[in-house]
C-alpha cells in the first residue's frame, strides 16, 4: 500500500499538533495522592458513573490532534494506492535484466487478470520509466531459462514482444535464467546494472545447483517482485497423474482410467471435488473425490471399449484459479489384432497329434480372442485358396513342401511387409527349402541331428538378451527355459553374403532360431518342431509367451506402436523406429513435423505444449540426416505409428514458496530486495489511486462536531 501526496508542503501543518498538546499540558491540574479507605467503592462508582472529567480532557486532546492531523493531510491532497516506492525503477542510466517468470503457475487468475498479465504490465511500466540511455533485456524464467529480448533501449520493444504472450506450460527455472542474466550484464557497458525478477516464487524453480555457478565477486542489486500475494490467487487442486489399463479377461474389454489429484492447500480439505473423464472431446463419465489437506486422492473411471482404435482423452477436475493443472492428457493404444495363417504340414485325425495343435492354442488360449492374435489353421492343400494378404503372419509348420509356385506368393507377401515363420520337423524336405525358398531363407538346411536315449538332450543356451522378443524373458522364466529338452534339430549353414541374426542358440553352438529381413518383412526360422515330436517345448509354460511374442514381433505389433508419457519440455526419443521410412509427428496444435531421421533413433524437442502428439510412419524413405521440417499435411500412405502424451509437471502447482532468507542464501553476495509485484504499476503513476482529501475533510468535520459535543457535555 502506498500514500502519495500531491501537495506535500501542507504536511508542515502537522506541527500544529503541538498547540493542543501544549494547551493540555499547561492547563493540566496537579494530581494529588490520598490514602483512602473505601477505594474499591470509588472504583465501582467510577465504573458506574457517566461523568469522566479527566478522560474527557484526554479525549479532547486526542480529537484536537486528530483534527489538525487530518486537516493537514487533506490539504496535502493524499492519493492512496497499492504501490510502494522501493527503488523501482532505477534513477540513473542503467542496464537492467528483467527475468520474467512465465511458468504455468503464473497463469493463476486473480480477479480479471493473472499473475502473468500483472507481471507483463509491471515489465512494461518499468521499461517505460527507465531513465534515458538505459538499456534492458528480458529473460524468460521458465525451463529452460532463455533470453527473450537482448539489450535494447527501445521502451516500446517490450510491449511489442510481450503484449500478446501467455504463460508457458513449463516449470519455473529461475537459476538458469539468472545465469543468462549475469552473462548479459557482463556485456553491458553501463555502470549501474541490476536484475529484476518478476515471479510467483514457486520453490521448485530455485534449484541450488543452478546458482552454484555464480562466480564470486558478482554483485548486482537484485529486486524480487513477488506476485504470489495477489488477492484471490489461490490454486486449489491439480491432476497429478493419469494411468490407463485395459481389462482383457472380460468380454466387455473395459478400459480403466485411474487419476490422482492433489490438494494443494496445506490446511483446507476439499470435499467432493468434481472430476470427469473426456474421450475424444466428449464427456465419458464423471465423479467426485474428497481430498484431505496437502494430500492426494485417487479415482478410477471405467468405460467399455467399443472399437479397437487409439484412445485420446483427458481427465478434468473442477476449475480453480489455475486452469493449466486442472486437466491431464492420456493416450491409450489398444492392442490391435493380428491375423495369423498357420499352415499345418503334418495334420492328424487325432487333433492333439496335429503339428499345429499346441501352436494354435498358444496363440489364442481362450475361447474368445484375448491375445489379439487370430490364428487360422490351414492344410497345405487349402493354401492356394487363401489370400495371403489377409494375414499379417504366415507360420509354416513342418511342411514337406509348398504347392507349386506358391513360394513366389510367399516372397511377394514378405517383400510387402508380411512375416513368415517357418518351423521344421520330420516332414520337411530340406532340398525343397534350400532351392525354392532360397531367396527368403538366409541359411541352408543341412541335416537332422537326433539324440539317442543315452545322450543328453539338446538345450537352449540361456542368457539375458536385449532382443525385443527375448528381453521379456528374465529371472525365473529364463531359468525355466533351461529345462526344455530338444531331441532333434536341423543344422543350418549360412549362405554367402546373407544378412541375418541368430537370436537363440543351442548349447552346442548350433543356431536355434534365425531371423532375417526380406524387403519390408521378416523371416524367422526355428530349427526344431513346434509340436511335441522333437521337444517338450510345447508343454512348457514359457511356450505361450515365446510364441505370441515372436508372432507379434514379426507382425511389427510388438512395441511397434510407441507410446510414451512425457513432461512439458522433455524431448521425445524413439530408439527403434522402423528404418527406411519417414516419421511424422502431429502436435496438439495441428502442426505436422517430419522428423530428422538419423540412424537408430529419432528425437523431437518441441514438446512445450501439453497434449497428445501422434506419430505416423510414411512409406517414402527420407534423406539421411535431413533436418526436421514442418509440412502442411500428412503425405498419403502414412500409417499410425503410436503417440505420446505431454503433460505439465505437477511440481509447479505445489504451493511451496521460497522464503526471503532462502533467496538471500542462494545469492549471498547480491543485495536482494523484495516487494509485492502488483504494487509497482501504481508506484510508477502516483496520480493513479484513490484521492483521500474528501474523506479526510469529512473526518475533520466529525472531529469538530465531537469536540463541540464533549465540551457541551462538560
Amino acid at each position: 500500500m502506498n500514500l502519495n501526496f500531491i501537495s506535500p508542503l501542507y504536511l508542515l501543518g502537522l506541527l500544529g499538533i503541538a498547540v493542543p498538546i501544549l494547551v493540555h499540558l499547561l492547563t493540566r491540574r496537579q494530581q494529588k495522592h490520598l490514602l483512602f479507605s473505601a477505594v474499591h467503592l470509588l472504583f465501582h462508582s467510577q465504573k458506574r458513573s457517566v461523568k469522566r472529567s479527566a478522560p474527557n480532557r484526554r479525549l479532547l486532546l486526542l480529537i484536537r490532534c486528530l483534527g489538525i492531523l487530518l486537516l493537514s493531510l487533506a490539504l496535502a491532497n493524499p492519493i492512496f494506492s497499492f504501490g510502494g516506492p522501493g527503488n523501482f525503477p532505477p534513477d540513473t542510466p542503467s542496464a537492467s535484466v528483467i527475468i520474467l517468470d512465465d511458468s504455468y503457475s503464473m497463469g493463476t487468475r486473480t480477479g480479471q487478470t493473472t499473475f502473468y498479465a500483472s507481471a507483463v504490465e509491471a515489465v512494461l511500466d518499468l521499461t517505460q520509466s527507465l531513465p534515458a540511455d538505459s538499456v534492458y533485456s528480458v529473460v524468460l524464467g521458465s525451463a529452460p531459462g532463455r533470453v527473450f529480448q537482448g539489450w535494447t533501449d527501445d521502451p516500446s520493444r517490450a510491449k511489442k514482444i510481450l503484449k500478446f504472450t501467455q504463460p508457458s506450460a513449463q516449470t519455473t527455472q529461475i537459476g538458469q535464467a539468472f545465469t543468462e542474466a549475469l552473462q548479459l550484464l557482463e556485456t553491458a557497458p553501463q555502470v549501474d546494472k541490476r536484475i529484476f525478477i518478476l515471479t510467483d516464487r514457486d520453490k521448485n524453480g530455485w534449484n541450488e545447483d543452478n546458482f552454484s555457478s555464480i562466480g564470486e565477486g558478482t554483485r548486482y542489486p537484485v529486486e524480487i517482485i513477488d506476485f504470489s500475494g495477489m488477492k484471490g490467487g489461490i490454486n486449489l487442486a491439480a491432476v497429478e497423474h493419469v494411468e490407463v489399463h485395459q481389462d482383457f479377461l472380460s468380454n466387455s474389454r473395459v478400459v480403466r482410467v485411474k487419476m490422482r489429484a492433489i490438494n494443494l492447500s496445506p490446511t483446507k480439505p476439499i470435499n467432493k471435488l468434481k472430476a470427469s473423464l473426456w474421450v475424444r472431446d466428449k464427456k465419458q463419465t464423471s465423479g467426485v473425490l474428497d481430498l484431505l489437506a496437502k494430500s492426494t486422492g485417487e479415482k478410477e473411471f471405467s468405460f467399455p471399449l467399443q472399437v479397437n482404435t487409439p484412445l485420446t482423452g483427458e481427465i478434468r477436475i473442477e476449475d480453480d484459479l489455475l486452469a493449466q493443472d486442472n486437466h491431464r492428457f492420456f493416450h491409450y493404444q489398444p492392442n490391435q489384432s493380428i491375423k495369423a495363417l498357420i499352415v499345418d504340414g503334418d495334420p492328424k485325425t487325432v487333433e492333439h497329434l496335429s503339428e499345429t495343435f499346441y501352436l494354435e492354442r498358444a496363440l489364442n488360449p481362450f475361447s474368445v480372442s484375448t491375445s489379439n492374435i487370430d490364428p487360422t489353421v490351414s492344410t497345405l492343400a487349402e493354401l492356394p485358396m487363401r489370400n495371403l494378404f489377409d494375414y499379417s503372419v504366415v507360420v509354416i509348420c513342418n511342411a514337406r513342401d509348398l504347392p507349386f509356385g506358391y513360394e513366389r506368393e510367399l516372397e511377394k507377401f514378405v517383400m510387402r511387409g508380411g512375416a513368415l515363420i517357418i518351423t521344421l520337423g520330420d516332414q520337411v524336405d530340406p532340398k525343397f527349402y534350400n532351392e525354392k525358398l532360397g531367396r527368403l531363407l538366409p541359411v541352408t538346411l543341412k541335416s537332422i541331428h537326433q539324440i539317442t536315449r543315452q545322450d543328453e538332450p539338446f538345450r537352449l543356451l540361456i542368457k539375458p538378451s536385449q532382443h525385443r522378443v527375448l528381453k521379456a524373458f528374465k529371472g525365473r522364466t529364463l531359468e525355466e527355459m533351461k529345462s526344455i529338452r530338444f531331441n532333434s534339430m536341423y543344422s543350418v549353414e549360412p549362405k554367402e553374403s546373407a544378412e541375418f541374426t541368430i537370436p537363440m542358440w543351442f548349447r552346442n553352438q548350433a543356431p536355434a532360431l534365425v531371423e532375417s529381413k526380406s524387403g519390408k518383412g521378416k523371416v524367422i526360422l526355428f530349427v526344431s518342431s513346434i509340436d511335441r515330436d522333437w521337444s517338450d517345448f510345447a508343454i512348457q509354460p514359457t511356450f505361450l509367451p515365446w510364441v505370441q511374442r515372436w508372432v507379434k514381433y514379426s507382425a511389427r505389433k510388438l512395441d511397434n506402436l510407441t507410446q510414451q508419457e512425457l513432461l512439458v519440455g522433455e524431448p521425445f526419443v524413439w530408439k527403434e523406429p522402423a528404418t527406411g521410412s519417414s516419421i511424422y509427428i502431429k502436435t496438439p496444435g495441428g502442426k505436422i513435423v517430419r522428423l530428422r531421421s538419423g540412424g537408430e533413433k529419432v528425437t523431437f524437442d518441441d514438446t512445450f505444449r501439453p497434449g497428445v502428439y501422434t506419430l505416423h510412419r510414411g512409406n517414402s524413405a527420407s534423406d539421411e540426416n535431413s533436418e526436421s521440417q514442418t509440412i502442411p499435411q500428412l503425405p498419403s500412405g502414412t500409417e499410425p505409428a503410436g503417440a505420446f502424451t505431454v503433460n505439465i509437471d505437477p511440481r509447479e502447482s505445489l504451493s511451496d514458496k521460497i522464503s526471503d532468507e532462502e533467496i538471500r542464501s542462494l545469492l549471498p553476495e547480491m543485495t536482494v530486495t523484495f516487494s509485492a509485484g502488483y504494487q509497482h504499476r501504481e508506484a510508477a503513476h502516483p496520480e493513479e489511486g484513490f484521492p483521500l482529501s474528501t474523506p479526510f475533510l469529512l473526518l475533520v468535520s466529525s472531529m469538530l462536531l465531537l469536540e463541540g459535543w464533549l465540551i457541551r457535555k462538560e
Partner: protein, 303 residues
C-alpha cells in the same frame, strides 16, 4: 490468647492506656451508670422475684417462710449479673487507619478504640465478663472475657497497642470467632464494614442463630460518607495496592449513593434479625452515640 497478658511497659503506651481509661470512665460514669443491666437471671444475692415450684427445681431455693404462710411452694429467683459474657470484636484493618485531611478530623481507629474501652468499662462495672478480639483478615489478638475489675487494664492495653493494618475479611473472622464465643453471650462488632466481602449478612444470621446477642457499631469518617474532596486525586487504598485516579466530583453522587445504600442495607437487615445496629460517624461525639444507644436499648426493654 491465654489469661496471662504480656504488658508492654512502654511509658508512652502506659500514658495512652491511662488516658483511655480516664476517657472511658468519664464517658460511662457521666452518662448512665447503673442503667444498663443484664437481662439474664441467675444466682446472686439480689432477689428478683418468686416463681411457682415445679418438679426439678432445686429445693434449697424454696422459700420456706412463704410455704409456711401460704402452704404453697415458691422458688426465689435472683439477678444473674455476673454470668453475662461480652466479646468486643474490633476491626483493626488498614481502612480503620483513615484520618481525614481536615485538621478537626479524628483517626477512625481512635474513635473505635475509645468506644470499645467505654463499653468494656460499662460491662465490667456491673460485673459482666468482657473480652476483646481484634481482627483484620484474621483474629490478630484475643483477650478472653473476664469479670474482674482488673481485667479492664488488660483490655485497655490491648486496645492501645493495636496498629491498624491489613485487609478486612469479615466473613472469615466471624467463622473463626463463632467457635470461640460462649453461647448466650453478647458480641459487639465494631467496624467500618468497608470490605469487599459479600454475604456478610449470612454470617450475621449464623451468629444470631447460635443464640448470641449481636450489636453492630458501624463507624465511618464523614469523608467516607460524603467524599468532600476536590481536584484530580489518586486514591490509594489503605488496605491493599488498589489505586484509582479520578476527579471526585465525577463520582461523588454515585459514591454517596453506594455508601448510603450500604448503611441502609445493614440497618434494615439488622432490624430484621433483631440485631442492634448503631451507625456512628466520627464527627458525632462518642457520648452522644453511646447515650443514644443506651436509651434505645432501654426503650426496647433490653436493659
Amino acid at each position: 490468647m491465654s489469661g496471662k497478658m504480656k504488658f508492654n511497659y512502654d511509658a508512652e503506651v502506659l500514658s495512652r492506656v491511662a488516658s483511655l481509661n480516664i476517657r472511658a470512665m468519664n464517658l460511662v460514669d457521666g452518662l448512665l451508670s447503673g442503667h444498663h443491666r443484664s437481662r439474664h437471671k441467675g444466682s446472686s444475692v439480689e432477689f428478683a422475684e418468686y416463681k411457682d415450684y415445679t418438679p426439678g427445681d432445686e429445693t434449697k431455693h424454696i422459700d420456706w417462710k412463704v410455704a409456711g404462710k401460704t402452704d404453697k411452694y415458691h422458688i426465689k429467683q435472683f439477678e444473674q449479673s455476673t454470668n453475662l459474657k461480652v466479646t468486643i470484636l474490633l476491626d483493626a484493618s488498614g481502612s480503620m487507619a483513615y484520618k481525614s485531611p481536615d485538621p478537626q478530623g479524628q483517626l477512625k481507629m481512635d474513635y473505635a478504640r475509645t468506644l470499645a474501652a467505654a463499653l468494656s468499662y460499662l460491662f465490667l462495672k456491673q460485673y459482666d465478663a468482657v473480652g476483646l478480639a481484634v481482627f483484620n483478615d484474621h483474629i490478630t489478638s484475643h483477650i478472653p472475657p473476664r469479670s474482674k475489675p482488673t481485667h479492664f487494664q488488660h483490655i485497655l492495653h490491648g486496645l492501645e497497642t493495636l496498629v491498624p493494618s491489613g485487609v478486612t475479611q469479615l466473613n472469615e473472622v466471624i467463622k473463626d470467632v463463632i467457635e470461640r464465643l460462649p453461647r448466650r453471650s453478647i458480641l459487639i462488632l465494631v467496624s467500618d464494614f468497608l470490605t469487599r466481602d459479600s454475604d456478610i449478612e449470612k454470617n450475621l444470621k449464623l451468629l444470631v442463630s447460635r443464640g448470641l446477642e449481636v450489636i453492630l457499631f458501624h463507624i465511618l469518617d464523614p469523608d467516607e460518607v460524603s467524599l468532600p474532596f476536590e481536584g484530580d486525586i489518586v486514591f490509594e487504598s489503605l488496605e491493599d495496592d488498589l489505586s484509582v485516579g479520578l476527579d471526585p466530583a465525577d463520582v461523588r453522587e454515585t459514591y454517596r449513593e453506594e455508601i448510603q445504600n450500604q448503611i441502609q442495607f445493614y440497618r434494615s437487615y439488622c432490624s430484621g434479625l433483631g440485631v442492634d445496629y448503631i451507625f456512628l460517624d466520627t464527627s458525632i461525639p462518642l457520648e452522644q452515640g453511646l447515650n443514644y444507644y443506651l436509651l434505645r436499648r432501654k426503650s426496647l426493654g433490653k436493659t
